[in-house]
Symmetry: C2
Subunit: 383 residues, 2 copies
Amino acid sequence: MKLVCSQSDLKTNLSLVSRAVPSRPTHPVLGNVLFQTNAETQRITLTAFDLSLGLQTSFPAQVSDNHTFTLPAKLLSDIVSRLPEGEITLLGMEEEEEDNDSFSATLISASGRFRLRGMNADEYPNLPEINTEEALQVPVEALIDGLSSTLFAASTEEAKQVLTGVHLTRKEDSLEFAATDGHRLAVLETTQEGIEGASEGFAVTIPARALRELERMIKTQKEDAVVTMNCDEVQVAFELDSQRLTTRKLEGNYPAYNQLLPNQFSRQLSLERKRLLNSLELVAVLADQQNNVVKFSIDSENQQLSLSVDAKEVGSAQESISAEVTGDSIDIAFNVKYLMDGLKAFKGNEIQMQLNEASQPIIFTPLGGLKMTYLVMPVQLRD
Amino acid sequence: MKLVCSQSDLKTNLSLVSRAVPSRPTHPVLGNVLFQTNAETQRITLTAFDLSLGLQTSFPAQVSDNHTFTLPAKLLSDIVSRLPEGEITLLGMEEEEEDNDSFSATLISASGRFRLRGMNADEYPNLPEINTEEALQVPVEALIDGLSSTLFAASTEEAKQVLTGVHLTRKEDSLEFAATDGHRLAVLETTQEGIEGASEGFAVTIPARALRELERMIKTQKEDAVVTMNCDEVQVAFELDSQRLTTRKLEGNYPAYNQLLPNQFSRQLSLERKRLLNSLELVAVLADQQNNVVKFSIDSENQQLSLSVDAKEVGSAQESISAEVTGDSIDIAFNVKYLMDGLKAFKGNEIQMQLNEASQPIIFTPLGGLKMTYLVMPVQLRD
């Protein structure tokens, strides 16, 4: 076996698939990357798979035959990333030993050579085949909007399995992304054209971890490139050019989150998002010392929002922001971290806050731009 | 008490002294920064002190009276660093409570106010007064050269107290810096003019931790600024403009390291430092898996240096570099990390390696530039 490729291609593609290599593999071969060489297409396909998340990519190379083998992912990445730019030659041979799993490759660069012990590919599990029921086409820009507006709100508690994902729902001309951990909810409906396939009402919940890798994978792509998503009963696959990501779906009924969004509000504020975020970051220094609670005092008369934190022994903080307020004055309290997470995910600067009473949720929406809704449950104010 | 200063002055100076605030203070007041306001000079002095390392700095402010008080270092830094640029007002008052240690300050910015509970300054320990025996003047550039060429080689093992520092010796027209952990030794003799004071032979060992802070403190200063160093039996102080660093000296006899440096060598190589460093970083990936040992094969006939690592089960690595070799061929082995540390500290690209036999130390020196010597003990080659 002999292949010749560029250091930069090998480095980029190894770095991409390595994200699916488990740091503590349950089986040694999963700590390796699978190489598949194709003499006909003159390409190499790399695969990594932790039995839940799978990543696959391919790139051009001079390939002598069709071969499959595996090499240790971390060692190989560490070496290739330190090699100078230029051609790399990889020579492989089955080792003549009792241990038939044995395979070793020699990597040759301009100044040196590295022999690495790999493993035969026989034991490497296949990435799931998806028997497509519904194929969906999503432009990269829409997918990035959806993921960056919701991923942060997914639960990190493994006990709430279905909440550790983002829920995607096919609407008439769009795709709706939603994530909630029970304390806050983020929803985004795409506004881009070009979403095609899958019938209205089609829905799937996908693990946040896999979607974070998807976000990383597509964010260097052109905005108008189109990602294809295929699902079956158990698995989902995303494909873009030569890159492919597979993951298990999350099972269980996703909460009917639309019922949580109030239909009408008795109070409304318009204000600058960055100003609010800066003030929250300031008072959070003290809120950190005391349950993370920040009190909003909405002052209708002075058209002002005051944020305050009382960290007892340590001290207290107060910030004031001018706002367009409609409705009566009210005090309401929140976990400051939930507010900051959401406000960071918005893009424009003008936002609207809508609420009813101090025990009911608050809704943040941007003025113009994304169709994003962020709901946060209040906490009880102590006297 | 009232003072007014700029956010950027307060932020910069807090960040500087905060390095001496212990993360787990043995006494609560040491988690605070000491403020001393001076109405006459219209300046504020900030001090932090962990009973070993002390940092002090001052900056201009509008000051109403002379006051001393302390405020929690981390909280205050977190708040001030997040405030917008502009004026900050600090109002202080002794709190009327049973607890007489109590002091609180209100920090007022354009958009908000923060009340922070501090402590009276009475309990704050004084920075040591140095009764100067020998004052030494060292230009910043010379000090930076000395520290960056030696600090990395100091021991991190607390058991070898005196080796956890850098040893400074006054020579006729220069200052010599040396650090060793018993496996390698780095020595730099300054080449700059302008070193004055202290008599020839004067020597002191200073904790590496304090010198790392000194390095950080002076590296933004002009190269020709001059640092004053004062010592007494127990303490050392460094001063530059309004900044002052104090630390305990390290006790014990520093090893007579000059005796370790061979007078003559039977073998010598000239080669490119960056090339050697790159190759070491590459083979280190495998050496990491196997005791960090790299073998140097010096090949006089082919005028070449080969580096090799045999990581048994995992694999092996070999890199070759052309070099000007004098003397016979030889194999000799080292800890790859010691070599990389030293080679990173050199500045120019051409270096010289000098050695005798495989059981004797190797010496690295730059060709031109700094008067730096780096000695590394070899490890025994296994067959």
